[in-house]
């Protein structure tokens, strides 16, 4: 008997039954077709999503800059890098929307497309959604968003449009199901990388970014 068969048999024997009857299986399958959130906490249903997102993200060392329109991004990136004493270089994800921004109007800012191997770089990406419930930024891996853009840079700047804000984490799934199969990676980000493994004292920048900066457009 294969390992698979033996484990499944052991499970059934211990549960005191054979394989599930087809009616029971159908019932279980049907209950999964109409999935609903188990329980939505009150904090996932607040009317002021922008306020809730900013407050909760800030608590976890995420910085948020509010911009009126997308075209203001290059200038905001430049100001952020300067304010933190960082090189005025930004690596942009291979995203046509980012490439279409008015970079040339911001003097002194160098734009590149990677690669991301050396440490200390700053990257810019868009995202899939923001979740007000926890101040979480959600990205999905795609042609425009290689997954390492979330983890290899020292500074991560993410563009979030106010219209992308969701109340609860559960709403991510409702949206992604509409789009079909899940992407390889759905990343939920809450702040820069950190570790408290040495003397239970928090240090930022364990392997991933030291800084996570959100440019919140509109709202």
């Amino acid at each position: 008997m294969s390992a698979r068969e033996e484990i499944l048999k052991s499970i059934r024997t211990r549960l005191g039954r054979g394989p599930l009857q087809s009616a029971v299986r159908r019932e279980l399958e049907r209950s999964m077709e109409n999935t609903r959130p188990d329980l939505l906490p009150a904090k996932a249903q607040e009317a002021n999503k922008v306020g809730a997102f900013v407050e909760r993200a800030s608590k976890e060392a995420v910085t948020v800059d509010r911009l009126a329109v997308l075209e203001n991004v290059p200038a905001a990136v430049f100001h952020y890098l300067r304010a933190h004493g960082l090189p005025r270089r930004i690596v942009s994800a291979p995203d046509p929307v980012l490439e279409g921004l008015p970079w040339k109007e911001t003097e002194g800012l160098e734009l590149s497309g990677g690669p991301l191997s050396e440490d200390g770089q700053a990257v810019l990406t868009r995202c899939f959604a923001g979740v007000a419930e926890g101040g979480v930024t959600v990205t999905v891996s795609s042609q425009q968003h290689p997954v390492e853009f979330n983890f290899l840079a020292a500074t991560q700047i993410v563009i979030l449009e106010a219209g992308q804000l969701l109340g609860a984490y559960d709403e991510i799934w409702a949206r992604l199901r509409q789009a079909g199969t899940l992407p390889r990676a759905v990343n939920m980000l809450l702040g820069p990388s950190r570790s408290a493994d040495i003397e239970q004292t928090l240090e930022l920048g364990a392997h991933g970014p030291l800084r996570l900066h959100v440019l919140l457009i509109g709202g």
Binding site: A3, R4, I7, S10, I11, R12, R14, L15, G16, P19, L20, R25, M32, T35, R36, P37, D38, L39, P41, A42, K43, E60, P94, D119, G134, S141, S142, P146, V147, E148, F151, L152, Y169, D170, W173, T181, L182, R184, A185, V186, N187, M188, L189, L190, G191, P192, S193, R194, S195, A196, D197, I198, E199, Q200, E203, G205, A206, H207, G208, P209
Partner: protein
């Protein structure tokens, strides 16, 4: 699984005398419960969510074959492969084959208790592979060749000076300034060294916090981001985990996530929570070409339908360790198992048998805090009591305990004899009391024989002047 639980009593004594360890543990014992309480207070629905989480896990376990088969089918539909491992040896051999088929030389890992359980690192090293742990705590103890002392914070027993010494012994190319050890520098040093490993590894091995049957997804939560790098940069990603980690839907996994970080570290949510489904898609510029999931039984299916089925609800948050007075006193190594604290005291005997692990379910004061803080409501004290009963039935308990319990059982059958013995014993104890407590009976600081075990570490309160029954008969009981 390497087990040294038969020496718990001796190991606990050594731990209690270790000043450095006691310092680390006291810092930890204060901090974690406070953080968890604050996080739970911030979510008024927390208690209700634990009811739901318990029910999700119970439902899944009752239909575990169905959900595992669905998970397997959905992983395959997304382009991945599921492997089944009956025991530790089979799990290691599956992973070893995947690695050698890939011609791998360097394997990076993010923290996984199941890989500790099946001793995967040793098996892969035997096959000539180089294994690098990437969770900072796990990396430190790997360099020191020590087992983890906590399921979440594996290097909790060490000071920054210990870490600095360890790094100096291994990172020969790093230039260091003189002066006091800074945690910040140690974290940067590990970042620098591990980055090369991330970029050059052939295979990345992770555990799984949850598996989602609906989509075939593997859910991973970290604060460092190391699991994401491990799962994303090498061309092969292997997730290895226990069969009990599956939940039916994405929403069910979300309920679990609302409880996990709050219970574990008092955070609202993990810094990085990722749902991985299949290998990279054709249009993805990066990500692994191969995605494997190894489902490990290793004694878990045998827990179904027994008194210990509830233990399979465990999500490894470590809240029970963080709130356990015994863990606070001894730390994790004394348990002699990768799984320590109350969850380990129930799980370790379930996986390897009670013969060598009988001390673990006895290492509890039954204060009940573990059950109170468990996000999936596992009745840990009850399960430890079941193990104590089995140990007693099988004549595995120490003879002093067996004879003592037998003597008590005989005396308890004769009420007058029982009262007489009790009064004599209470009188003896009062005669040894010094000072005065609120009711004037005082405290005892030294007792002879086996009772010395109590007074070595704390005073014992002397018994009241009159027994409860005496007080009741004289009518005072009604006022009390």
């Amino acid at each position: 699984m390497k087990i040294d639980s038969q020496h718990f009593v001796q190991n606990a004594r050594i731990a209690l005398d270790n000043q450095k360890l006691q310092g680390a543990l006291s810092r930890f014992a204060d901090a974690f419960p406070k953080l968890r309480q604050q996080a739970c207070d911030g979510l008024p629905e927390f208690r209700e969510l634990t009811d739901i989480a318990r029910d999700i896990k119970d439902h899944t376990l009752e239909n575990l074959d169905f959900y595992l088969e669905m998970f397997e089918a959905r992983v395959a539909a997304a382009g991945g492969i599921v492997h089944w491992a009956r025991d530790a040896e089979e799990a290691c051999s599956i992973v070893r084959s995947i690695c050698t088929d890939q011609g791998a030389r360097l394997v990076i890992k993010s923290k996984s208790m199941v890989t500790e359980e099946v001793e995967l690192n040793a098996a892969l090293e035997e096959a000539g592979l180089r294994i690098v742990e990437t969770d900072l705590g796990e990396y430190i103890i790997q360099l020191r060749a020590e087992p983890p002392s906590h399921i979440l914070a594996p290097a909790i027993h060490l000071t920054k000076e210990d870490v600095a010494e360890t790094f100096q012994g291994h990172h020969h190319d790093i230039e260091r300034g003189r002066g006091p050890v800074e945690r910040r520098q140690l974290v940067e040093e590990a970042r620098l060294v591990l980055r090369d490993e991330f970029l050059n590894a052939d295979v990345g091995i992770t555990g799984a916090n949850f598996l989602v049957a609906e989509t075939g997804s593997v859910v991973l939560v970290t604060n460092e981001g190391n699991a994401d790098l491990t799962a994303s940069l090498p061309r092969t990603h292997i997730a290895i985990t226990g069969i009990e980690k599956v939940v039916p839907t994405l929403e069910n996994a979300t309920t679990m996530l609302r409880l996990l970080a709050r219970s574990a570290t008092g955070q609202e949510f993990g810094t990085y929570t990722t749902f991985f489904t299949g290998p990279k898609r054709p249009e993805d510029p990066s990500g692994p070409d191969n995605f494997h999931v190894v489902l490990v039984d290793n004694g878990r299916s045998a827990m179904l339908g027994t008194d210990f089925q509830d233990m399979l609800r465990c999500i490894r948050c470590s809240a029970c360790l963080n709130h356990c007075p015994v863990y606070h006193a001894t730390g994790g190594h004394a348990y002699g198992s990768n799984y320590s604290g109350p969850m380990g005291a129930v799980l370790t005997p379930s996986l390897v048998g009670i013969e060598k692990t009988g001390h673990l379910p006895n290492a509890s004061s039954f204060c009940g805090r573990c059950e109170e803080v468990c996000p999936v409501q596992i009745p840990l004290p009850k399960l430890m009591r079941h193990w104590r009963e089995r140990e007693f039935e099988r004549h595995l308990a120490p003879s002093t305990m067996r004879h003592g319990l037998k003597a008590w059982a005989i005396i308890a059958r004769f009420p007058r004899l029982y009262r007489w013995v009790l009064q004599r014993a209470a009188g003896f104890l009062r005669s040894r009391a010094r000072g005065s407590s609120e009711d004037g009976t005082g405290w005892i600081s030294r007792l002879p024989g086996i009772a010395a075990g109590w007074t070595r570490y704390r005073d014992m309160r002397a018994p009241a002047r009159a027994t409860f029954q005496k007080q009741w008969r004289s009518g005072r009981g009604e006022q009390a």
